[in-house]
């Protein structure tokens, strides 16, 4: 028994020392040389990473795609929009999920590594402004009021509901919002404060929207923002606030998000496709076509608002004619810009 155990240990040691370097050697490229396409795990794998907001949608498409092409493997990761672009611009992934357009810095990094990409909008994500259901003084907030609450100067100053609007009760104002690494935070600050990444620091942030749901549901004085899908699943525990951008109070619904009347808190979400991968692995084109043809029903199922057919057609044309680069020209989040205008302008 004892000899057996010792023998096993030795064999294991040998096996490990013998095996470990072997798989490393053939697949080890010179690390300095940037890969053009994603390192091929094999030709039938489409590597996708990026925003955790977009992941449920892409995963749903990947799930359905198994019926079309059972041999193709489509794994999806959730490194976040920024983390996803880092890998994408390093040539490590084929497709990057993004809840905001590519930024200047990421744009430059991709260019340095010779990565060309095709930008495709896939759905709208509405952002909901939420209070606790026992809150009986707020029905609607103007963008101006939201800005007063969230701008960096408000830190330590706007601490009570009565400071938000004349007539609100003098109760403490408890703020909940998306974590600063998320595309949701980037977009919210751009849309409300006017500058991406600028907000007060004294709010409770979480990358996990379910934590924010719990927070607002348990705090009478709460004011928070997060993805509309999370409000819809928890509508009994939360109260939705309408947003007034100057044209009256509008609640986020599929209609108001899609026709652009729910402004400025509805944003398009994207996938970015590595152009080199597209040529190296033809199955990717099939996958993207399948994506754009089926995404409208799937978007509703996972809680997002589909784009109009016109925009999907424009996106498909963009893919087929291999239009690379960003319609936002590396500007990051932009507010109130119509997708169809941007896409058609290119033609």
């Amino acid at each position: 028994m004892q000899r057996l155990v010792i023998g096993l240990v030795l064999i294991l040691a040998l096996v490990v020392t013998a095996c470990a370097p072997v798989p490393a050697a053939p697949s080890a490229p010179a690390p300095a040389e940037p890969a053009q396409a994603a390192p091929a795990v094999d030709r039938t794998t489409i590597l996708i990473d990026g925003s955790s907001t977009v992941a449920p949608l892409t995963s749903a498409v990947a799930e359905e795609f198994r019926n079309v092409s059972p041999d193709t493997r489509v794994p999806v990761g959730i490194s976040g929009t920024g983390g996803g672009f880092k890998k994408f611009c390093n040539g490590e992934t084929d497709i990057s999920n993004a809840s905001r357009p590519i930024k200047e810095s990421e744009f430059t990094q991709c260019a340095e590594n010779g990565i060309e990409y095709i930008e495709l909008p896939v759905a709208y994500d509405g952002m909901a402004v939420i209070v606790n259901p026992t809150n009986d003084w707020v029905e609607c907030l103007t963008v101006e009021e939201l800005k007063r609450v969230w701008e960096p100067e408000a830190e330590g100053v706007i601490m009570s509901w009565s400071q938000v609007r004349e007539g609100f009760p003098d109760r403490p104002l408890d703020l909940y919002g998306a974590g600063v690494d998320s595309g949701t935070y980037d977009y919210f600050t751009q849309a409300i404060v006017g500058k991406e990444g600028a907000s007060r620091g004294d709010f409770l942030p979480s990358e996990d929207d379910n934590i924010l749901v719990q927070g607002v549901a348990g705090d009478e004085n709460a004011l928070g923002f997060f993805g509309l899908a999370y409000y819809e699943e928890n509508a009994d525990k939360l109260k939705l606030v309408a947003v007034d951008a100057g044209n009256g109070c509008v609640y986020p619904t599929e209609e108001t998000v899609n026709n652009g009347t729910y402004q400025p808190l509805s944003r398009p979400i994207f996938i970015y496709v590595n152009a080199a991968s597209l040529e190296a692995k033809p199955i990717i084109e099939t996958f993207i076509e399948f994506y754009l043809e089926n995404v409208d029903d799937l978007a509703r199922e996972v809680g997002y608002v589909p784009l109009t057919q016109e925009i999907y057609d424009l996106a498909l044309a963009r893919l087929q004619s291999r239009v690379t680069g960003s319609i936002y020209a590396g500007g990051g989040s932009q507010v109130g810009v119509s997708l169809s205008d941007l896409l058609s302008a290119e033609k």
Binding site: Q2, V5, I6, V9, L10, L12, A13, V15, V16, A20, P23, A24, S27, A28, P29, P31, P39, V41, T45, L47, D49, S52, A55, P56, T58, S59, A60, A62, E63, R66, R73, V74, P75, V76, G77, I78, S79, K87, E92, D208, D209, N210, G227, A229, Y230, E232, E233, N234, L298, E301, V302, G303
Partner: protein, 302 residues
């Protein structure tokens, strides 16, 4: 013997001053006992509440599909097949790498070099420090070293190597403790008969210490099985709908799957996550009980 008889006996033997002193000391003893009990109960209570909550949420979802299906956007069709495979193979490879490395290191440190050497002390301090390094740091190391530099990609092997590094210090510390517990008289006896250092280690010290070493290894693996952060860092994925084919395949593991389900808006997924937690916990408890059984089986009496 009851405390009254004790007191009477005490009263006969000592004066009344000593009796009151004895009573006081017994009272202190009982107070400490109560405090100790309370301390245990606080820990246990939270554990029981937590377990109860998870089991109540997860029980309806503990069904065969949980083990046979891939993840899906519909909770009813979702399972953790790919995550179970990932966890199983990762633990196996991690053990195969960390066990021989860790035990060899421990043998060298305990049996071959003197503890008083300056470099032995430096190694010792560093190993203890490594055991306390946050796991995400190992993830960053794995990303730089295995995924990028060695070109392993976001593979199971890269994950297992990272995990092996993570548990190595724990295994070394545990194995050293086990080796140190072997009485030196055993070694001396073997040396007296002309055995070489390697023969002494192989035939006497290692077999005696094996139960302790295995306990340490399994406890280290129990830590690795619950780790999420380093694997997300090296790029483990969340949606995988195919079987693992080789150690160089992309992968996911149970804690990542659970983490992903919890973050989804649909509420059924949090119940599904609870079921996943129950499965993970059962695996963990099985591993821990295995450690206890092994320790009992192989325990040496001196």
């Amino acid at each position: 013997m009851s405390s009254t008889t004790q007191t009477i006996v005490a009263a006969r033997t000592f004066g009344s001053e000593q009796v009151s002193n004895l009573r006081r000391r017994h009272a202190y003893g009982r107070v400490f006992e109560a405090l100790g009990l309370a301390a245990i109960m606080i820990g246990l209570l939270f554990l029981v509440v937590l377990l109860f909550d998870v089991i109540v949420d997860g029980l309806p979802w503990l069904r065969p599909q949980l083990f046979t299906e891939f993840p899906s956007r519909f909770a009813e069709r979702s399972g953790m097949r790919s995550a179970l495979q990932g966890t199983f193979w990762m633990m196996l490879i991690t053990a195969a790498i960390a066990f021989p490395l860790g035990v060899s290191a421990a043998i060298y440190l305990e049996e071959y070099i003197s503890r008083d050497h300056w470099y032995a002390r430096i190694i010792e301090i560093n190993i203890s420090n490594l055991a306390g390094v946050p796991s995400i740091i190992y993830g960053l190391l794995g990303l730089g070293l295995f995924v990028r530099y060695m070109g392993l990609g976001r593979s199971l092997l890269a994950g297992a190597l990272t995990m092996a590094l993570l548990v190595l210090p724990i295994i070394i510390v545990a194995a050293r403790e086990a080796l140190r517990a072997v009485p030196s008289s055993q070694r001396q006896a073997a040396y007296a008969l002309g055995a070489t250092r390697w023969q002494v280690t192989r035939d006497h010290v290692l077999p005696s210490a094996m139960s302790g070493i295995l306990t340490g290894v399994i406890l280290a693996l129990s830590r690795a099985i619950g780790e999420t952060a380093p694997l997300i860092t090296i790029g483990a994925l969340t949606y995988i709908a195919f079987d693992l084919r080789s150690p160089l395949d992309i992968f996911t593991v149970m804690p990542i799957q659970i983490f992903n389900w919890i973050s989804l808006p649909q509420r059924e997924f949090s119940a599904l996550a609870a079921a996943g937690i129950v499965v993970l916990m059962v695996v963990l408890l099985t591993m821990n009980s295995l450690a206890i059984i092994m320790r009992q089986r192989m325990r040496k009496q001196w």
